[in-house]
């Protein structure tokens, strides 16, 4: 036998061999044992919730002119200087109703290029989230999640474009319940594995820190586009995060995350600072007027999505482009890939179609919405890999409604609500 480790591994692999019967046997056991039981969503739900806030956090790397009338920091809430009680930190941060902070993200490529983004954020349980993003001190993007209006609006200042998403009531409530990313970061640090770093000093303040190498920190730090980028394409496996807390008050003063470029790719460094915990937010911070010279890029109504109407619009757009087929997989990343491939093909054939951003964005929201339905245990199923617009009686997409029936979108994009037994008949086709 060769001494080369690769050869020895190959030899071991051959000895282990393949068991073709494993998958059918496992699936038969699952079918017998579990039938149609739904999953326990558990902690996976949190990941979905982070992603779901497309709708609200999609602009995490956008920024905010922070307008404060005053700051009330709960010094009295944290007694003693004998050392930080991490459980108390967690409790204190979880109770915060409003916080402002600055997130600075730097991405460095091996070629020495660097992209710096600064995001100034205001998060308020009562009002929503505002984020202003700057590149090289130039405001490039503003995102507002407005709880009272039920809207998520993104302004692209350079292009003078905006997107507007009408949120559902449930989503607004979710934002109100869980609007604070620093809270999520602290939670990830202190409920996961960490090591204590001991005492240090930041800007003259005595601090105590913890360090974590848990990759779960990444979406907590970078929820929104960057988080989705990580989660959707490549989740790094080499990260170091640090949380520093003021010894006297128990409030976090600095959080850092370093993501190594393990494949010779880019390194990312994130620093979150300038916290104003339990800040009082001026109402003006959330008063949004879209400038008159801005053009709409996309308008999405999640209520209409829920009713299936915008889902149908988006799928019809795709079918028109593709000549009657639907996206093979209903995920945002794959949709972009498939639409891109179609445009490339059309372009190569001499047609030069304009990309309809409104529809493309609606499609991506549709995909995200379907994923959220899965998270809610509403049993969505999508058959775009086999069903085309010619399949008038076949189920293209379906999900369960609160009343126990199923909303079905057929191959010809009709919408119908049917019983479970009727759905079984339809899906047997």
């Amino acid at each position: 036998m060769s001494d080369k480790i690769e050869n020895r591994l190959q030899d071991l692999g051959r000895t282990i061999g393949t068991d073709e019967t494993m998958a059918p046997r496992v699936m038969a056991r699952i079918d017998r044992a579990l039938g149609d039981q739904p999953f326990k969503t558990g902690t996976m739900k949190r990941e979905f919730q982070v992603r779901r806030l497309v709708m609200s956090r999609v602009s995490k790397l956008a920024a905010a002119a922070v307008i404060l009338i005053g700051v009330v920091v709960g010094f009295q809430a944290f007694k003693g200087t004998g050392g930080v009680s991490w459980a108390q930190v967690l409790q204190q941060v979880a109770a915060v109703r409003a916080v402002t902070y600055t997130l600075q993200a730097t991405e460095e490529t091996p070629q020495g290029q660097s992209l710096d983004i600064r995001i100034e954020t205001i998060q308020s349980s009562e009002r929503g989230i505002r984020m202003d993003a700057y590149i090289n001190d130039e405001l490039v993007n503003q995102a507002f999640t407005l709880v009272d209006e039920g809207l998520f609006v993104t302004l692209m200042t350079g292009q003078k474009l905006y997107t507007q998403v009408a949120l559902t009531e449930a989503l607004c409530e979710e934002v109100q319940r869980n609007s604070g990313d620093p809270k999520a970061i602290v939670d990830e640090f202190l409920t996961g594995p960490y090591t204590e770093l001991g005492r240090s000093e930041i800007d003259g303040i005595a601090v105590e820190g913890v360090e974590s190498q848990d990759v779960a920190l990444v979406p907590a730090f970078l929820s929104g586009p960057m988080g989705r980028l990580s989660a959707g394409s490549e989740m790094p496996d080499d990260v170091v995060g640090r949380l520093w807390v003021d010894v006297a008050t128990g409030w976090p003063v600095k959080m850092t995350l370093d993501i190594a470029g393990t494949d010779g790719g880019s390194e990312t460094h994130v620093v979150v600072t300038d916290f104003q915990w339990d800040a009082q937010i001026a109402p003006e911070a959330f008063s949004l007027e879209i400038p008159a010279d801005y053009q709409p890029l996309a308008r999405v109504d999640l209520g209409q999505m829920e009713r299936g109407v915008q889902m149908v619009e988006a799928l019809a757009y795709f079918a028109e482009l593709s000549g009657g087929t639907y996206p093979t997989k209903l995920t945002p990343v794959d949709i972009v890939g498939e639409v891109g491939a179609i445009y490339e093909k059309l372009d190569a054939a001499g047609a030069t179609p304009e990309m309809d951003d409104d529809m493309l964005i609606k499609l991506k929201y549709a995909a995200t919405y379907v994923r959220e339905l899965g998270d809610q245990g509403k049993k969505p199923a999508y058959y775009g890999d086999t069903v085309t617009s010619a399949d008038t009686g076949k189920v293209l997409l379906r999900w369960k409604l609160d009343d126990g029936r199923y909303r079905v979108i057929f191959g010809d994009l009709r919408i119908e609500d049917v019983s479970g037994s009727r759905l079984a008949e339809l899906e047997a086709k």
């Binding site: 996976m44 980028l229 049993k379």
Partner: protein, 186 residues
């Protein structure tokens, strides 16, 4: 569109394979067939993990089945969908240990477990190698088992694990180095 999202808003071709994360999401979304794909993807790795504990092909098959069923039941509690592979291998090891414990409780001495090993299935050298593979870091263990037990190419592993080809290549290379060290130490 948010700033960094521009990076994803580009024309790209579809990946060859669905990643573990995508399949997990599909299963959670009600697509049970997606789980069968995960079983096919990891059955060799899971059996290998079980075999390293039980040293018996048939018992390892049973433990592997238990592991997959348990993984399906607990899929909703998986913290990060993309971490399915390493998570599954931990479950497999736990199932194998439980099975070994059950056998001991049933008054079957360890010798019987060893005796049940079909001759020539895993010689001492292979057992040592397998034990070393299972000592690797999670990410390295995943790429090694997929590469050598599952027979996937580096590109396919990259798709499966949601990493870049460069990362997988480096992880394989690191794993080879680490295995050499582990085997020398043994």
């Amino acid at each position: 569109m948010p700033v960094l999202a521009l990076k994803t808003h580009s024309v790209r071709s579809l990946p060859v394979l669905q990643s573990d994360g995508e399949l997990v999401h599909a299963v959670l979304g009600g697509d049970r067939k997606a789980f069968a794909l995960l079983v096919r993807r990891y059955e060799q790795s899971v059996r290998a993990a079980a075999m390293s504990v039980l040293r018996d092909t048939h018992l390892a098959q049973d433990a592997a089945q238990d592991a997959f069923v348990k993984a399906y039941e607990k899929l909703g509690s998986l913290r990060r969908a993309g971490a399915f592979g390493p998570w599954l291998l931990k479950i497999a090891r736990r199932c194998a240990l439980d099975m070994a414990g059950d056998r001991r409780e049933a008054a079957l001495p360890d010798d019987d477990i060893a005796a049940a090993r079909p001759a020539g299935l895993l010689d001492e050298d292979k057992e040592r190698l397998l034990a070393a593979v299972l000592e690797l870091r999670e990410s390295e263990r995943q790429v090694v088992t997929l590469r050598y037990f599952g027979g996937y190419s580096v590109k396919e592993i990259a798709d499966i694990a949601g990493r870049s080809v460069g990362t997988v290549t480096k992880q394989l290379s690191r794993a080879h180095r680490r295995l050499r060290v582990l085997l020398k130490e043994a």
